[in-house]
Amino acid sequence: MSTPARKRLMRDFKRLQHDPPAGISGAPQDNNIMLWNAVIFGPDDTPWDGGTFKLTLQFTEDYPNKPPTVRFVSRMFHPNIYADGSICLDILQNQWSPIYDVAAILTSIQSLLCDPNPNSPANSEAARMFSENKREYNRRIREIVEQSWTAD
């Protein structure tokens, strides 16, 4: 059945195919437009460079009035990402607005990688390391990047 949420997601998908922002890709799973797989590539010239991080986006019929549930499938080490892969990002919670389509969501998450918000730690170890020991922090990021190549 074609609901407003599904119609909108088709247009999100078309835009992502025809006009993909650099370093992200995403597509609905076969037979289920409400569940997407996506990949975010670590931005060049940062410790994240070379990483390929997989995510899932679960939409409801309330989309775009409500945000999708976005979760990293790849293992992450980041001040604003929980151990289960869920992400602490204002636009995915209380600052959500329908102006964000899938391309914009993924772009925002990509910029969060290099630009963590230390005021809302989801991983306190990563948050502490980010502010107190950047060298060790960057080493942990490199580990995560390497893991992203091998893990399923």
Binding site: P4, K7, R8, R11, D12, R15, P64, N65, N80, Y82, S86, I87, C88, D90, Q93, N94, Q95, W96, S97, P98, I99, Y100, D101, A104, N119, S120, P121, A122, N123, S124
Partner: protein
């Protein structure tokens, strides 16, 4: 002799808040979030838009409360016939504005007004495009509003009654889309005239105009202030009267109720029905700190 307390590990306590509360990093924020969620649940018990009620229902709320407010409600009672409440979910201004405007169009059946508003809606659409908003993110909201506008015009197969308008305003799939439409129009107007709005926004939130729109206009549930009201009134060319019911009083004796008319900046006002009435707002909202309801003049 005191019992030995078990010695607590001196290490830092790590708070790992759940995703629901992660934008707050201390316990206080968790408590606040919980408070918000209780308020949310309370708000949901009330429909988006209530039934028309006599002003005595307003007085009943303050029966054992402030005498100033009761005096002011007496003054209101002389000028206004009824109140229609809106849900206190942060969208009350836009929701009240939506209902009040569509109800006005339904009653007035003024085709010039409909043409005028459609032209302004198109101007807002162009403004969003110019600002670089992808069409797909706002077109559904525009379409749905224009459909409501068409449907309140009588004499067609799709025409709706006043009762149906109430039902639609309570239906989330219509009501939230129209509220969001107004949020888009408001955001476009503020950004289009950012030089004009900048000082007001700096005074309110000390952020850039763009940041203000992203954080205080475009997300659902963000409350409206005079910046939002000025912007929507200007963008659509619709005058709005806001009546203030608060504890302020003046020394000169008699109690009076203040109001402020938001008159669109552009010369583009609803069609003149005799010049004296030209600027008379047909939308009246009652403001109590933090909330807007609809008022019906006598």
């Amino acid at each position: 002799m005191r019992n030995k307390e078990p010695v607590l590990d001196d290490g830092e306590v790590e708070y790992e808040a759940g995703p629901e509360s992660c934008w707050g990093n201390f316990e206080d924020d968790d408590v606040m979030q919980q408070q918000f969620s209780i308020q949310d649940d309370e708000a949901k018990k009330f429909p988006f838009v209530g039934d028309k009620e006599p002003l005595s229902s307003l007085a009943a709320e303050y029966q054992s409360g402030s005498p100033i407010l009761l005096e002011k409600i007496k003054v209101l009672d002389q000028q206004y016939a009824a109140i229609r409440r809106t849900r206190g979910d942060g969208n009350c201004f836009f929701r009240g504005f939506m209902f009040s405007y569509l109800e006005h169009v339904l009653e007035a059946q003024d085709s010039a007004e409909i043409d005028r508003i459609k032209a302004n809606v198109e101007r807002s659409r162009n403004a969003l495009q110019t600002l670089g908003y992808p069409e797909l993110t706002f077109e559904d909201f525009f379409t749905l509003f224009l459909e409501q506008l068409e449907d309140v015009i009588q004499g067609k197969e799709t025409s709706i009654s006043p009762e149906e308008l109430v039902l639609r305003s309570r239906d989330q799939s219509v009501s939230d889309y129209v509220v969001m439409f107004f949020r888009f129009v408001t955001s476009a107007e503020i950004q289009k005239r950012s030089e004009f709005f900048e000082p007001f926004i700096m005074g309110l939130s000390n952020t850039t105009v763009e940041q203000f729109c992203k954080s205080a206009v475009e997300p659902m549930g963000e409350e409206s202030d005079h910046v939002h009201i000025t912007a929507i009134s200007d963008a659509l060319g619709i005058p709005i009267r806001v009546v203030y019911l608060d504890r302020s009083s003046c020394d000169t004796g008699g109690v009076s109720v203040n109001h402020h008319d938001f008159i669109p900046a552009a010369g583009d006002l609803p069609s003149a029905r005799g010049s004296s009435e030209k600027n008379n707002p047909f939308i009246t909202l009652l403001y109590r700190p933090g909330h807007y309801d609809i008022l019906y003049p006598k």
